[in-house]
């Protein structure tokens, strides 16, 4: 419950404050958000599976974000930033889908 509240508060704060995204962070933010979403879905699934561990969740969340940003950074340096971002988004999207499918089986039993 507290976690859901945190998410809602974050969205509200982001909409209200509307801070200027620093130019350095700007290209990494979308990918980082997608990676974090993947981690959250993984965590939700783990919770439904009964194997949720907060330490694991924190580490996976942060490492997901960092690795995703790193990949984009590397891609930019190599000149394939756009393609690599697409690749990362596709991979994370597939993972989100599979996690969502597992969650669905738990929640709806179908």
């Amino acid at each position: 419950m507290i976690a859901v509240l945190g998410l809602v508060l974050g969205v509200v704060a982001g909409l209200l404050v509307r801070p200027e995204v620093p130019a350095v962070v700007e290209p990494y933010l979308p990918i980082a958000v997608v990676a974090a979403l993947d981690a959250v879905f993984g965590g939700l699934r783990a919770m439904l599976d009964g194997i949720f561990d907060d330490k694991v969740f924190v580490v996976s969340f942060l490492s997901n974000v960092v690795v995703a940003a790193l990949i984009v950074f590397l891609g930019d340096k190599l000149g394939v930033g756009a393609q690599l971002s697409t690749g990362v988004v596709v991979v994370l999207g597939i993972r989100i889908f599979s996690n969502a499918a597992a969650i669905r089986r738990h929640v709806f039993r179908a």
Partner: protein, 291 residues
């Protein structure tokens, strides 16, 4: 990266499931759902144990009642960050979204196109401004020409007697009770006035112009075919200081008339109004040769 890759913590997953890989666990769990669903029916309730919770129950337990555990707070913090980033990204993506996702080459191309377009529009603007200046000049010239034409028309109208005129001048009144004044005497008076610089003349309501003629008729004198009788009242616009002496010179108009027993009075005026008009007549034969 994902929870599934990690070793589950023992306290949450006691029993034989601890060593299961997630995939096998998922497959095994699916058949388990069926008895647990059936367990909700009355009579089967005792089979339900705390360790054999379904995912749905765990979810409900996590959601309510809210517990301020360390795990919940940490997860809330991370999710706050996620929501924050999500909102920022969505908000920043909403504005000028067309250019935000564009690649560098595209941006350079768009910039080039914009530069070209700006240049073209600038040239067009320059051309239109030139055109406007030209038109303004020509309309100014047309306006000036029109003004001059109007002015000229007015001047010529005064000469031709088609417009009224006013200005300083004199009034010449000839009382001819004996009937001795003849047309040639009035013509002399008119000639004298013209020679003295009269610009507009009318006699008893008849405008005197270049083509004016005077004839003697049975009872009086006719001017341009209009019969006039005494007293003959001349209204003359011109310089009074020229006109009056011109009439009064010895042996001039006044003396000649007085010799004929007529009474002549000359009065200066600052605002003589010559308002007798004459229809403009288009010449039948004479044509302007200047054009």
């Amino acid at each position: 990266m994902n929870e599934r890759d990690e070793t589950p913590s023992p306290k949450r997953t006691p029993g034989g499931e601890q060593d299961d890989t997630p995939t096998t666990r998922l497959r095994r769990e699916l058949p388990q759902e069926v008895p647990s669903a059936a367990a909700e029916e009355p009579g089967a309730a005792p089979r339900e144990e705390k360790d054999k919770q379904t995912g749905r129950q765990r979810l409900a337990q996590g959601l309510w009642p809210p517990r301020f555990t360390r795990a919940q707070l940490i997860v809330a913090l991370l999710l706050f960050g996620l929501g924050f980033g999500l909102a920022i990204q969505v908000a920043s993506n909403n504005d000028d979204s067309a250019l935000r996702g564009a690649r560098q080459e595209d941006l350079v191309r768009i910039l080039d196109e914009l530069d070209d377009r700006t240049q073209r529009l600038e040239e067009e603007k320059q051309g239109l401004e030139d055109q406007r200046t030209e038109l303004e000049n020509s309309s100014d010239q047309a306006e000036e020409a029109r003004k001059q034409t109007v002015e000229k028309e007015r001047q010529l109208g005064i000469l031709a007697g088609t417009v009224a005129a006013q200005g300083p001048g004199i009034t010449l009144t000839i009382n001819d009770t004996k009937g001795t004044v003849e047309a040639d005497m009035l013509l002399d008076a008119i000639q004298e006035l013209r020679a003295a610089g009269a610009e507009a003349i009318q006699v008893n309501g008849v405008r005197v112009v270049a083509s004016t003629y005077l004839t003697d008729s049975d009872e009086g004198i006719s001017v341009d075919g209009n019969k006039i009788t005494q007293p003959f009242r001349f209204k003359v616009i011109g310089n009074p200081q020229d006109l009056e002496p011109a009439l009064n010179i010895p042996g001039g108009v006044v003396q000649t008339l007085e010799k004929e027993q007529a009474t002549v009075t000359v009065a200066r005026g600052d605002e003589i109004v010559v308002d007798a008009l004459r229809a403009a007549k288009r010449p039948d034969y004479a044509r302007s040769s200047s054009q």
